[in-house]
């Protein structure tokens, strides 16, 4: 079989790239275009960056005989989302110096800069490095940022799981020296350069890396705010008396699909067993290598682990995993997830430390008239001795706030018009809403998401308030395309862009992230969305049972059938 397959274009590019170098050095230097050579646009992803254009201007600039306004999105890895004040300040500076003066907190707890010009790539990446941050493996066919929300107020076991998160992230970081050569002049202030001085060798990935991206997330029940079932590999922490014992292992989650191709589908991960904590890194590595060897390298639309699993079957996969491990996974242990959202406002941890969870609309850190969030956070970072924690829901926790800083943080936020207690200002619907970047920079977007969602929410909130649902948490997620960056198929309300101003409406996902939603209506415009949702919300307000979430209610009332597996998502 291996001899006859026709590898996809990207496989050839990776193979010829000499461990992700390609012709990037020449591409970056070419002064005639703001773009890279076509092959290098694949490779730059492994370095954490996507080449994009300002799509608002594409047509105008073509007429002006100018090439598209090329710029780069750069994604900085933050395993578990924990960044220091110094790192926050550096990202804030870089956004102003080279980016578009905003920071995006992603749905995978990473920072994104947008609008970086090719000629500024090197300085920008050096800027990360000086603050002990990096963008390698931010994108590309490798393990991406490892997610875990170390909600410090929740339990002591969180610090233990955070250590596991960091260990997995470090273990699965590519070993190639290309990143350091290309961007850092071969020097690194970052202490954990893998395999320094050993030359290029990828013991886990091999020279063609994985067939496609690979995502890992961890969670401590009952909170599933990292949406672990949406990941190729999800790890559910099992604890006893505040001590971490091990993890339930879930495999084969993934959101992306392609319109018009019913054999592509979102899928939630299946739990295949339990592993003690000291063997979890090994399990991650072995699962990655199975996907490396078995994943589809002909058609990237079918390359994710979820399709590998449904092709070979879960049992065959488990056998192979046990074989590679040299021992068998134990039976999964009981656990319960309650929710997948964030809790806003001040909280106190078991050690008495104080934390503040801020609502960040669309994950965008920026200064707007009347809401100078970016300025406020910069001012806080100047003295805050705790850290900044990015959540998987695009929000931000000011963690471990020193008692003497409580009032000044409160004052700075108020001065800059940033609500401290999001619950008092925003409806539950807005607080739980996620949006991907979409237009104007994402090349995949068919429709608006982040720029437009606040406006749509203004209208939906009228309905919500009329129905007395202001404080009810309802998960709404919007993306500009079906690839699923904001995990739209886990939205109790999912809106997925089809064309400018047109969305498919999906309904009925579980509140705790354990059930996908289902297509309800196609190609709705704004009026259509509001008209379709209004009677459903009214029905929910009147006829729900105690504690019943919106997604569960819609299923019980028969508005949509429950999606029990990715394979019946389209049915």
């Amino acid at each position: 079989m291996a001899d006859t397959i026709k590898l996809s274009e990207v496989e050839h590019v990776k193979d010829a790239s000499n461990y992700l170098r390609g012709t990037l050095a020449e591409s970056v230097k070419n002064p005639i275009t703001g773009a890279l050579f076509p092959d290098d646009t694949h490779l730059i992803k492994f370095h954490g960056s996507y080449q994009q254009t300002d799509r608002d201007l594409d047509s105008e600039r073509k007429h002006q005989k100018l090439e598209p306004l090329y710029s780069f999105m750069i994604r900085v890895r933050v395993p578990g989302g924990v960044a220091s004040s110094a790192q926050w300040l550096r990202m804030d500076e870089l956004a102003d110096a080279y980016g578009n003066h905003t920071l995006k907190l992603t749905t995978r707890q990473a920072f994104q800069l947008h609008g970086v010009l090719k000629r500024d790539l090197k300085e920008t990446i050096q800027g990360f490095n000086d603050a002990l941050l990096d963008s390698i493996a931010g994108c590309g066919d490798v393990n991406r940022n490892v997610m875990f929300n170390p909600n410090p107020h929740q339990s002591r076991v969180h610090e233990q799981v955070y250590a596991v998160t960091q260990a997995i992230s470090a273990h699965l970081t590519p070993r190639t020296a290309a990143y350091w050569e290309l961007w850092l002049n071969g020097e690194s202030a970052y202490s954990c350069v893998p395999n320094e001085g050993e030359g290029d060798f990828e013991p886990i990935y091999g020279k063609t890396y994985l067939p496609r991206k690979f995502k890992i997330a961890l969670a401590v029940p009952p909170y599933n705010d990292t949406d672990i079932f949406a990941n190729d590999l999800g790890l559910i922490a099992i604890e006893e008396h505040g001590e971490l014992l091990g993890f339930n292992v879930a495999v084969g989650g993934g959101m992306g699909m392609t319109f018009g191709m019913p054999d592509t589908y979102p899928r939630l991960a299946d739990i295949i067993g339990y592993i003690p904590a000291d063997q979890v890194v090994d399990v991650c590595e072995k699962i990655v290598t199975i996907q490396r060897d078995w994943g589809n390298r002909e058609n990237r639309k079918f390359s994710r682990l979820k399709y590998t699993l449904d092709r070979v079957g879960l049992d065959v996969f488990k056998q192979e995993l046990n074989h590679r491990l040299g021992f068998a996974l134990e039976a999964a242990r009981p656990y319960t997830f309650r929710s997948s959202g964030d809790a806003f406002g001040w909280s106190t941890g078991p050690d008495g430390a104080r934390h503040l969870t801020l609502f960040v609309e669309g994950g965008r850190i920026q200064d707007l008239p009347g809401n100078q969030l970016k300025t406020a956070l910069r001012n806080i970072a100047h003295f805050h001795t705790g850290d900044f924690r990015l959540t998987g829901n695009q929000n931000l926790i000011l963690a471990n706030v020193a008692p003497e800083h409580l009032l000044s943080i409160q004052a700075i936020l108020s001065e800059n018009g940033v609500p401290v207690e999001a619950n008092e200002v925003h409806t539950g619907l807005r607080r739980g809403a996620l949006a991907c970047v979409a237009l104007n920079t994402c090349s995949l977007a068919f429709a608006e998401a982040e720029r437009y969602l606040p406006k749509l929410l203004d209208r939906l909130e009228q309905v919500i308030r009329q129905q007395g649902l202001s404080q009810d948490e309802i998960i709404l997620r919007m993306t500009g395309c079906p690839n699923g960056c904001a995990r739209p198929y886990l939205g109790e309300i999912g809106l997925v862009g089809r064309a400018v101003g047109r969305y498919n409406l999906y309904l009925g996902a579980a509140f705790n992230g354990e059930r996908l939603n289902k297509l309800y209506r196609e190609m709705l415009d704004e009026d259509g969305i509001v008209q379709e949702l209004t009677p459903l919300l009214a029905d929910y307000a009147q006829n729900r049972q105690p504690q019943e979430s919106f997604g569960d209610f819609l299923i019980r009332q028969g508005y949509v059938q429950p999606t029990t597996h990715g394979l019946n998502f389209h049915q």
Binding site: P31, I32, L57, D58, E60, K65, L66, A499
Partner: protein, 614 residues
């Protein structure tokens, strides 16, 4: 040297080229050549079109097929590939072309054309197809009576405007007189099966036509075009009727297109203008200039009328023609700047202002006074009682401005393109505008006619020897003639290398004609492009720095008989480039400054160092 320099050579010739041509020829051969060239010149209009027409008729043979695709996601490209494969199996010669790179002027040469195009969003063409689509739907599209075509439209049925772009191509080609080979097919998301079915239909129609019609018509048309007689006659008639367009008799050229070339956020304001010369018979060469007769802005006319406390309707006599002051100030008189002669005449009619005579008397003061002032400033500063007629007599006629032509007639027949930088600044309390650039930037809109004529630039011309390398150095709008040069050398397949050195403030907003240069680089019609964006880094970086960085390359090309052209700002840029060239020659020759000066002087004498500066 001294004897030959007394001979007056015609434009574009130099001693060296002539020597090169004549080397090793006997007297007999030289005599024969003189007759040959005389005959060729006399044949002129007659002999040249013949091979061209032959070239055009070649693709008319029915075994050739052009497949033109406009793709956004790659599906149309894929579909075009499927059709091409099928067509090749039918023995057709297939050219698959991307609309994005397709010169619209080639459309009229097509004989069999398959269009494969998708539709975006709510009925828009893909970006790659926009230009062709716009051209085709405009009234500039040529009649296409000899074209046979078919359209395959790609789309998504869930959209309201399903396959709209394909529909528009299909309708418009029919309107232009082209004949459908087969009905259009609109494909939904799954396009491959439909594509193959449609390809089968089209190819069947083509196959039916080939054996009977093709060879016969081909021969006939070839015979006709090879007969020179009627063509010469037509050319001669045209020559007799040709009108000479001058300042006294400008041509009213319709503005076909106006494009702001600077991206958003630029501090510059540069326009690309395309004028029609249709029906004028106007010919120009790359390197020539176009004279544009401006009119003054209404606001400025009002300022002048108010400043002079005059009546806009007052009658004025100008060169025996009577018109009102408003029209005289708008169309006939220069009011946007002050010149010495106007100031002198004004001083005469305003004896109560001795200060005016002081300014005029002080040579050092005068330019500083004139700078940034216009007629309204003068009338306000030194008020006098003046009639409309008196004012008209003081002012001077509104002159036309010259712009280096930015197009080649070979690439854009019956069109002339300009690159115009809008001149605007604040001075003496008001916003001031360059009269002719503002006329084109603010007043002229597509469909309007501008009064124009050609001003020949005798020396700023491409080398006669098409194998000679050229180095073109231009900043800002100075790039204009080089667009014409490169187009001309591309159209004539000149083998010499074309090297452009371009500068402007910012890469993202001020890279004039960026995508055209990229295409030329891709096709090899531009050998090298160096850019200097002065404000994209801490230290300012200009084109002369780029030349110095490429010192060896510059010198080698000059040593190899290359030509060096400079266009743009006279005072700063041209002087800096000249200095850089002196440095380069001294450095690379290993000789002293005196040698370098002589070297550059010789380049000038040989007309290999040429400037078009302003």
């Amino acid at each position: 040297m001294s004897s030959s320099s007394s001979i007056t050579l015609p434009i574009g010739f130099d001693e060296a080229t002539l020597q090169q041509l004549a080397t090793g020829l006997s007297d007999q051969q030289l005599l024969w050549l003189s007759g040959y060239f005389y005959g060729r010149a006399a044949g002129d209009a007659g002999s040249l079109p013949a091979p061209q027409t032959a070239a055009v008729t070649a693709p008319a043979a029915n075994n050739t097929l052009t497949i033109l695709f406009g793709s956004q996601t790659g599906n149309s490209k894929k579909a075009a590939g499927l059709v091409a494969d099928a067509a090749r199996q039918h023995g057709l010669q297939v050219a698959v072309r991307d609309m994005n790179d397709y010169p619209t002027k080639e459309l009229k040469n097509e004989r069999q054309l398959l269009v494969v195009v998708s539709t975006q969003g709510e009925g828009d063409p893909p970006i790659a197809a926009e230009e062709l689509h716009q051209f085709l739907l405009s009234n500039r599209a040529p009649k296409l009576p000899e074209l046979r075509y078919a359209v395959l439209a790609l789309g998504d049925k869930s959209y309201l405007q399903f396959c709209q772009t394909g529909f528009e191509f299909d309708q418009r080609l029919a309107e232009l007189g082209a004949k459908r080979l087969t009905e259009r097919v609109d494909c939904d998301v799954e396009f491959e099966a439909e594509t193959k079915r449609w390809a089968g239909q089209v190819l069947e129609v083509i196959a039916q036509a080939v054996p009977a019609a093709a060879p016969v018509t081909n021969q006939v048309s070839a015979k006709v075009t090879l007969t020179p007689q009627p063509q010469v006659a037509a050319g001669a008639v045209e020559l007799e009727e040709r009108v000479e367009y001058t300042s006294h008799n400008p041509f009213a050229a319709e503005l076909l297109e106006k494009i702001q070339l600077n991206g958003r956020g630029s501090t510059k304001e540069t326009y690309h203008l395309e004028f029609s010369l249709a029906g004028s018979g106007i010919q120009y060469e790359a390197g020539d200039a176009l004279m544009v007769q401006p009119v003054n802005q209404t606001e400025l006319v009002r300022e002048v009328v108010q400043a002079g406390r005059l009546d806009a309707g007052a009658p004025v006599q100008l060169n025996g023609i009577e018109l009102d002051l408003q029209s005289a100030l708008t169309e006939r008189l220069e009011i946007s700047v002050l010149t010495r002669d106007v100031l002198e005449r004004y001083a005469v009619v305003s004896p109560q202002h001795p200060r005016l005579r002081e300014i005029l008397a002080d040579k050092a003061q005068l330019p500083a006074y004139l700078y940034g002032r216009d007629v309204a400033d003068l009338l306000r500063e030194f008020p006098v009682e003046l009639s409309a007629q008196h004012l008209a007599a003081v002012l001077r006629p509104l002159p036309a401005r010259a712009y280096s032509i930015a197009s080649s007639l070979l690439a854009h027949s019956e069109e002339v393109h300009l690159t115009v930088g809008a001149v605007r600044y604040d001075a003496h309390g008001r916003r001031k505008h360059g009269v002719c650039s503002a006329y084109q930037a603010d007043l002229l809109t597509v469909g309007d006619a501008a009064r124009v004529w050609v001003d020949r630039n005798e020396y700023f011309k491409l080398p006669q020897n098409s194998a000679a390398d050229i180095i073109m150095v231009g900043a800002g709008t100075g790039v204009a003639p080089f667009r014409a040069f490169v187009e001309e050398r591309a159209e004539t397949n000149a083998s010499g290398r074309n090297w452009l050195v371009f500068g402007n403030p910012h890469f993202t907003t001020d890279f004039l004609y960026q995508t055209e240069w990229q295409q030329h680089l891709k096709h090899g019609t531009l050998d090298r492009l160096d850019v200097a964006f002065s404000r994209d880094q801490q230290e300012k970086l200009y084109i002369q720095h780029r030349l110095l960085q490429q010192s060896r390359r510059v010198y080698d090309q000059l040593e190899n008989g290359g030509y060096f052209y400079v266009c743009g700002d006279k005072n700063r840029m041209a002087a800096d480039v000249r200095q850089a060239l002196l440095t380069i020659v001294a450095q690379e020759s290993g000789r002293d400054a005196e040698y370098a000066a002589e070297y550059v002087k010789q380049l000038r004498k040989q007309r290999r160092y040429l400037e078009d500066v302003y």
